[in-house]
Amino acid sequence: MLEIILQVAINGLLLGGIYALVAIGLTLIFGVVRVINFAQGEFLMIGMYAAFWLSHLLGIDPYFSFLIITPLLFLVGIMMQKVIIKPLLNAPSLALIFATFGLSIALQNGALLLWKADHRAIQTSYSNSVLLLGNLIISVPRLVIFAVAVAIVIGLFLFLQRTYWGKAMTAVAQDREAAMLMGVDIHKVYMLAFGLGIGLEALAGVLLMPVYSAYPTIGFQFCIIAFVIVVLGGMGNIFGAFLGGLIIGLVEAFSGFFISPQLQAALYYVIFVIVLVIRPQGLLGMVGAQEMGFK
């Protein structure tokens, strides 16, 4: 029994790593630009399809193709900030929500239009490879994702602490106006945040490809989970996103095992609403953070 519980915990943590990776981009954009990007998941989907086609047509392995895809989507993120978000920054917050929602619908159905609703997967040599620890099984590609998530959290932390642009980002996140008065070019910071947020989301998509299959609505499904995680961990908090990801991963694994796989999702939505209502700033968030930037 103990072994089973340990195995479930490992599965939960590895799943949590995936969720954390998916949530980091969302929380970064929210923290800095104070925009909830409902189209975030679609960039995960695009990352997955890009990895699929590069592998399918050119035979490039996802563990290499991310080198192309991530920078490309970084640029897409910058474009999105420039074309859609920036003109709407002073519009009612309703406008921003629906602009990103519209983008989400368009991208999802654009994918459906181009690539049909089929599930597309790639088989790599390592897709099913596992590490054995006694009787415990650890999936290698999932472990890779977990490691990347940890690396990104640490990397972002160092970036925010050590570099000028990182510090500028932190400053903008705390007080847009004050940062502006200190000579920070906030639109550059916003572009950087969007670029990073969306680039990382695409990276997550690429790394998911060996274990998941791509279809048009997969991004939206992950996106809703990412919202739960971001709210749970504290909006804009990168460590919070990691912690929240692990918690939701564990909740999903254990509830799937002990209650019913069908009710997994219902359970974390319920957690989500309870957290929002009881502690809207999340586990690691600042009090009042959920009010900032919105009216």
């Binding site: 406008a95 619908i105 159905n109 709210v231 609403v273 009010e291």
Partner: protein, 602 residues
Amino acid sequence: MSEGKNKTIKLLKANIYYIFIVIILCVLPLFVRNPYYAHIFIMFFSYAFLAMAWNIIGGYGGQLSLGHSIFYGLGAYTSTLLFVHFDLSPWLGMLVGGILAISISVAIGYPCFRLHGPFFAMSTLAVCEVFRILTVYFSDLTEGSIGISIPIRFGLKNMIFEHKITYLYIIIGFFSLAVLVSKLIEKSKFGYQLIALREDEDAAESSGVDVTRTKLKAIMISAFLTAMAGSFHAQYALYIDPSGEFSILLSVLMAVMAILGGVGTVFGPILGAALLVPLQEILRGQLGGQLHGLHLFIYGVLVIIVVMFLPHGIFEWLKGWILPWLNKLQILTPEMPEGERAREDLVAWGRAARDMSHEDEVILRTRDLWKSFGGLVAIRNLDVDIRRGEIIGLIGPNGAGKTTLFDLISGIIKPDSGVVEYNGSNITGIRPAHKLCHRGIGRTFQIVKPFGNITVLKNVMVGAFAREGAEEKAREEALEVLDFVGLYPKKDNLAKSLTIGDRKRVELARALATRPKLLLLDETMAGLNPKEIGEALVLIQKIREHGITVILIEHVMHAIMNLSDRVIIMHHGEKIAEGTPREVASDERVIKAYLGEEYVVI
């Protein structure tokens, strides 16, 4: 007799195009012979109905729900299950579903309404997913993801008809109901208060709006209507399943149609549906087979474009160039048929407060009041006594705790300890602010909070609704107050278009319209030019003449010194001095803490 006749004619004239529309709606189905067009019309009216239902809480109330499918699904499943298992007529099932939706809406709204903007949206979206998952899971009852097919038994009682035209008539009936409900809301106290809280919750509360109750009322009405549409659609499609009923896309579409057309208006949602439904049906019909997803792709792009170029919706934009044209044609009768107002009784709003019999009585008393935020003590051991009819100047350096004191008195925040007595009764910690507004404490805000997107008159009417129930009465009262503060000529301007001085006046008027006995003015004169300050001085004098006690926070020293009967000086949360302007101006501590040498009286 003839007056009654005149009134009827007037009423007919004022509603001429509604009558026109009703006639069109009644006749329309007679001309729709082709079942395909009938279907498109049914979809149009259904979506318009749904968008209007959403608009009640999402548009007027500004609470962005992305989970309205919850109510739709509840309606569909309730009436269907009752029909399939107990042979209960869907007409009754629809009622049961509506009532169920109301209870669920309260259960969702009560905890979630403290969340704002996107957070409220996400929580409703999550709850909707929970409903979908549970519906799939409890497959013994709901037949899970396979869905339920409704047995075809034609008949009025079963709400199943051979011809689409019958459905069309029913949904036109629903649609008219929604228009009527929206219109009634717009003209009622409830509607004004709902719009006020959308614009600013704090200011709405201080103007006597019970924010939580108003929101709950709005979501209840909205949920009931949405559930009706769910039941109707189940009987029309004769098939329901969890992903079709508790659908995120449907929730989003309701909101998108309302937003596209123009939120918070009656016609906006209809316009949105009129644009999107034919587009959706035609694209689906023409291209659905080979190009799956195209119509939604176009949808998405359209939403982005509209939001970017017409963030206030198509209706607002159309109004810009259609209204003048309609006015020319005399189709639109002006909304407010009032002539020149009789000026002699313009002081009527003061009646309730003009009880001068207890001149010396203390109207406000605080004892040993404490409030701290984290480690910062904002109010320290504060005792003040304010007598009825006084003008009290409250001064002190920034951060002295003046606004905090106002927040404590007006019920925005709660003190840590101590007592606040008002009019002889203990009001310590009574919240939220609307309760104190009803007791006669009015206030303005340091950072002005007018309801920006509605007219000056409507701003003040929200205040008047604290005492009045009827729209006409509130309008009269508001006009009187507007005249009193000198804003009558600008009554039809949007509040956000005013200068800072006028915005402050709007706030003052709004507070006055609640007929306060005690008025708290927070830096009403900051940012005004000398002429405006002069006018404000006269105004505050006049307010006092109506028997209203005034406490004002102000940094404009000559105003304070001229106006106040007594001045209270605060520093670091404490009262450091109190007395007539002359007394405090020569007080060592006051000069040191605040005034500077300039005000020393020799």
